[in-house]
């Protein structure tokens, strides 16, 4: 009974949240200055009043805001995100073209940040006053404090210009290779953007896991594990890490939203063909349907990520499992 009720409640909450996101974003965009028709007309090189009025009518911009909102919401409800003013193609299709690149970038960066950050954090927690620990603290604070676009540009300068071992931009070469080599090429292009995006988060994960592990390693149950005769590696990586990871998992969930914001900047610096760059370009073009679609899609992604975090949280912490079950 309770097992069935829980996902249903979660689903209802998610739908409500998505609806709120749609309405709020729609109204917010109405507040922004600029008008899509005048942008299009400007790019066309001007048009008569008559043509402009015709275009407004065609896009439904002559209706009242409330009417427009109702139309939009009812369309979104059946999975129709509308038509891009600029690209002249369905928004959903545009998003789906760009989504994989962003997800690839975001997940690679996140994985890199979590794995590297946690590893470094745990190592420095074992000797909190050692050299490695101070080194980690300084380097991670620099990574955290430096703006992403600056880090990106510096990496480009170092590894694409001075020592050109990585490509400067894009996701594949002009003449993309076929088969397995295609994936190698994408991976090659992925290195710098992913490292750049990860640089912000490595700091938080290494600091967090360091603090968390120092705390965990001073707990009574760690002494119990040692009293049992377990070798030190097992004490730290089995009894310690399982507990030390709990705040890390929380942080992953909280950072998903920020990750997409960071991805927008990185995609712009590295010309990565993802959702973030599409969003950036669409804002400049006043392409409302595309902006709204992207915002909705990222909101849904964040919700899915939070649900997954919740699930992961239960896996690592049995106390939560039984409390909510």
């Amino acid at each position: 009974m309770t097992n069935l009720k829980q996902p249903l409640v979660f689903l209802a909450q998610s739908v409500g949240l998505a609806l709120a996101v749609v309405v709020l974003n729609f109204l917010l965009i109405q507040l922004a200055p600029g008008d899509p028709v005048s942008v299009i007309v400007g790019e066309m090189g001007g048009a008569s009043e008559e043509v402009i009025a015709q275009m407004r009518a065609a896009y439904g911009l002559d209706k009242s805001v409330l009417e427009q909102l109702l139309i939009y919401v009812s369309k979104v409800a059946v999975g129709d995100l509308g038509y891009s003013y600029y690209h002249n193609s369905p928004v959903l299709q545009l998003i789906m073209q760009r989504l994989p690149a962003t997800v690839l970038l975001a997940l690679s960066a996140l994985t890199l940040a979590v794995v590297l950050g946690t590893l470094v954090g745990v190592l420095s927690a074992r000797k909190p006053h050692g050299l490695l620990s101070s080194f980690v603290t300084v380097v991670s604070l620099i990574g955290y404090a430096a703006p992403v676009f600056w880090t990106g540009l510096m990496l480009l300068l170092l590894f694409s210009a001075i020592w050109p071992i990585f490509p400067t931009s894009g996701m594949v070469q002009m003449r993309a290779p076929k088969g397995f080599m295609y994936y190698v090429d994408v991976a090659h292009h992925l290195v710098l953007p992913a490292v750049t995006l990860a640089s912000i988060y490595i700091a938080s994960y290494s600091r967090l896991s360091r603090t968390s592990m120092i705390d965990v390693l001073s707990q009574d149950y760690i002494r119990t594990a040692r009293a049992k005769g377990l070798p030190e590696g097992k004490v730290v990586y089995k009894h310690g890490l399982r507990n030390g990871l709990i705040p890390v998992v929380t942080m992953v969930g909280l950072q998903f939203g920020q990750l997409f914001a960071g991805a927008t900047l990185v995609e712009t610096v590295f010309n990565w063909p993802g959702l973030g760059r599409l969003a950036f370009e669409s804002i400049l073009r006043r392409d409302y349907p595309t902006i709204l679609g992207i915002l909705l899609m990222t909101s849904i992604l964040v919700m899915v990520a939070n649900a997954l975090t919740d699930l992961a949280y239960r896996l690592v912490d049995p106390r939560i499992r039984s409390k909510r079950a």
């Binding site: 040692r226 377990l230 507990n243």
Partner: protein, 333 residues
Amino acid sequence: MSTAPLLEVTDLVVEVDNGKRILPVLDGVTFSVDAGRTLGLVGESGCGKSMTALAIMGLLPQGFRVKSGDIKLDGKSLLSMGPDALRKLRGSVMSMVFQEPMTSLNPVFTVGDQIGEALRLHEHLNAADARTRAIEMLRAVQIPAPEERVDNYPHQLSGGMRQRVMIAMALACRPRLLICDEPTTALDVTVQAQIFSLLETLQKEMGTSIILITHDLGAVAEMADDVAVLYAGKRAEAGPVATILDNPSHPYTRGLMSCTPRLRLGSAALTPGHTLAEVRGMVPPLGQFEAGCRFSPRCPMADAHCHAAPPPDVHLGASQTVLCWKVTQEQAA
């Protein structure tokens, strides 16, 4: 007892380096535990009881080290052993139950996992056998429905149950020596009695020697065969429980006894108007010990001599040892 003792601690000196100074924690502690017997290690907080236990287990915290003396288990010196050899003894030949059952179990593993872990490590059991043995151990520590409890996490158990789990874990490999560091301090009085009787039952069954660390002389009277009283890192008095409780010779032991209502006072404790005594003052902080007898600032009998020079160990009868000038003077007189 003609056989050699299971555990012999001789002149143990432990110090701590706090970064600025090196401070003595234990200063010449000597005692032994015979096979199958129970030693009560008594004293107030800060007297070095727990540090003695951790030194035996080889689990002294960072900064603490054994400076001199020896710890022999079954005739073999634990101090000259390599860390790996010592680790293999922990949990198999000697094990420990800690004071805080609420925090001493790992919250993310089931109790079955935690009990079975020692068995898989030391006796190389597979997962299924370790689980079966874990259930047997849970039954041995009288936890109801052990087949279900084995899959519980610590937060699903009460404090008393958790301490039973700790005991099950410590005894899983049938160790020869079990150190219980204030095993009942965090528990209800009714649960305390249950835990003590459980320990006694298991001791009879397995022939394990027990070191019971406590500040409760009542518990010592019930449980222990021998007792060693520690004060400020020194052994104040030691001997068989019956002798010490009948004839406490160190003023500190006498002080502790007068603080224990159910002991020696008999019905007087229950008489209205009877006030419970206290030992005035506090255990001095590390490194701030008196030049003479360390107890002299709190001792009702102390004179100039006590303040000036540290007392020698005096033997009273066959088995009692006391660290006190007054006893020395009485003997000389």
